[in-house]
Symmetry: C2
Subunit: 198 residues, 2 copies
């Protein structure tokens, strides 16, 4: 029989295997059940429920981990220098992450409270706010709107775009240019020319 330390290591491995299996299952089917996920993880349902008391709790853990990974990836971007170019980089990198997590986003939108999804975006939202504020100081971005709202609108447009692609109403190839164009336009100060999309 394994000792306490061995059992703890087993438990950690199980939890990680369950989260990995959940990402895989939910990416194939946003309505994947706890039973599907337990089977894909190679654990029993009792073991799964020992780690996550409900499907919502599991979904929350999956989405929270995905957001931590997203935040770490965004954290490695160099957002110094010209604010407008930094914004293009941030839009494109954020979109790449949202785009490849589209199915997970659908699962989260179906299974988690709306406010919780917003809460898990807190750090990425703050990053956008900091960049908008720096752009404002340099006269590159508009100052006549609340910065927290501009940053929420950034993700609102990204998520709408993901939903439109999932529903087959937008070609994935059109998304990066369209997003960059519309968001740069949204941040440009009144009176200045709207930047071209690419």
């Amino acid at each position: 029989m394994p000792g306490t330390r061995g059992r703890r290591a087993d438990a950690r491995r199980n939890a990680t295997a369950i989260l990995d299996a959940a990402v895989e299952c939910l990416s194939r089917d946003p309505d994947a059940s706890v039973a599907d996920i337990a089977q894909a993880a190679g654990v029993g349902r009792v073991t799964l429920y020992g780690h996550f008391a409900s499907r919502e709790e599991l979904l929350d853990a999956v989405f929270a981990r995905a957001m931590r990974e997203a935040d770490a990836a965004l954290d490695s971007l160099d957002l110094e220098g010209d604010p407008r170019q930094a914004m293009v980089l941030l839009i494109r990198s954020s979109w790449r992450i949202v785009d490849r997590s589209r199915a997970l986003l659908v699962a989260a939108e179906r299974g988690l409270p709306h406010g919780r999804i917003r809460e898990l975006h807190q750090r990425p939202l703050h990053r956008i706010e900091r960049l908008i504020e720096r752009g404002r100081e340099q006269g590159e971005f508009r100052t006549d709107m609340p910065v927290a709202w501009l940053s929420a609108a950034f993700y609102g447009v990204l998520h709408t775009t993901a939903d439109e692609i999932t529903a087959g109403r937008l070609d994935e190839a059109d998304a990066p240019g369209a997003l960059t164009g519309i968001l740069l336009a949204a941040f440009t100060p009144p009176g200045q020319p709207v930047p071209t999309a690419d």
Copy 2:
């Protein structure tokens, strides 16, 4: 005993009373239960379930009716003339409707599938598309992005704004100006100056 015609009229009155009560209850509490709604409507739960087989079905009927009313109100707007001024009118009128239905929107976001909410916006979305297309023909709006996506983004930003107000992160008084400013900027062709917010 009432005849068939009398019973049908009773049933219609009951259904209307249930929908009215549902709007009232859900506006106070987006998680209002079927029992709360039946009580407010002055009918038994059995009668309610005779009309709407589940809470989701009732919520769907409430939201569908609200969208029909919204669409009728938007239909009465005069959107001819200068496309940019017509867009301002459409943004402000659409926002007034979304703003006063904020609690109902939260209930719908919690209780209805995401795609269904989009489906129920079909007619308002088409109205925006038609106006964008007319503005494009007159050189007022940008032509380098899919029109269906621009129209989806319009509602994406409106709904994000409603959620931000509900969460206490945006002052309701700031919303109309901010929305008009950001959406006009989003539709303006590259190279043309961003319009002022008001």
